[in-house]
Subunit: 139 residues, 2 copies
DNA sequence: CTTGAAGCTCTAGTCGCTATAGGGATTAGA
DNA sequence: TCTAATCCCTATAGCGACTAGAGCTTCAAG
């Protein structure tokens, strides 16, 4: 019915200090307190926190989550902005994949460039880290 | 022969405050100073900075770069550690790609789930952000 | 010799937490 | 009812790798 921050943490997988941090940042509402000043949460708080957690796991930055929460407070508004946020995040993830794949190519080359026993002066890995001109791409 | 921090910045693409930061962190040696206390660099400093820059561009964390620099001061040592650092970084990049690809799948689903004009209460995007059970993967 | 760009140090802010310190509250068992 | 173990509270500082700003000094071109 009504549970402590530790219980909420267990149920959502969000660590206790992180829950307090989200409250401070305004992502979740300050809950009621016991006489001894401890937080007590309800199901709606748990849903909100799961929403935040899942959005974070998907890589959304906190301002985007803030926007989504704001939006969800206005049931009759159109939801274009939610669409846009999802599309932006997808785009950003795809850009990061492209970037990382380029790095992967270079690093695979570098990591295999020094097979066998070498000393530092002969080391192709060290040379490659210092010499961007060996790279196929501009990172 | 001997140039200012701004010149070094132009030649390497590393911003002036970042150069000072690297010096503070011990990645580059403190250069000589003019009578008026301004830094003056040499070619070797430029090479060192290019090494750092390129390593950073490839995603190496600063402690790894520190290790590589340390290593390069000992020309006769074997270079296994450089190999290991490169291999570790390649592994880490590949793991990140795998992770991001999973996110891409989920986000592509979410971003296309709400075609047409909906209001917030009907919004599939908002629902999907709140509901991890719709996902194929555990992120 | 003047002027304006570039340099100097120091501090604080970024993001999303996480860790620690030093205390108070709650709860289960004896 | 007492006590011990566990939980919870606030506040502050730290992470990584910079970046921005304030307030001052030095340099180089004309």
């Amino acid at each position: 019915m009504n549970f402590s921050i530790g219980e909420l943490s267990k149920q959502t997988g969000v660590k206790v200090p992180t829950i307090r941090y989200y409250e401070k940042e305004g992502l979740i509402d300050p809950p009621v307190r016991t006489e001894g000043n401890q937080r007590r949460y309800r199901e709606t708080d748990r849903e909100r926190l799961r929403f935040i957690r899942h959005s974070r796991d998907l890589g959304l930055p906190m301002p985007a989550i803030r926007d989504l929460i704001e939006l969800s407070q206005h049931p009759d508004k159109p939801c274009h902005e939610a669409d846009r946020i999802a599309a932006d995040q997808l785009k950003s993830i795809r850009e990061r994949i492209v970037h990382l794949k380029k790095l992967e190519v270079e690093l695979a080359r570098i990591a295999t460039s020094c097979q066998g026993d070498h000393t530092v002066t002969q080391c192709n890995v060290l040379k490659a880290f210092g010499d961007h001109s060996q790279c196929l791409d501009n990172h």
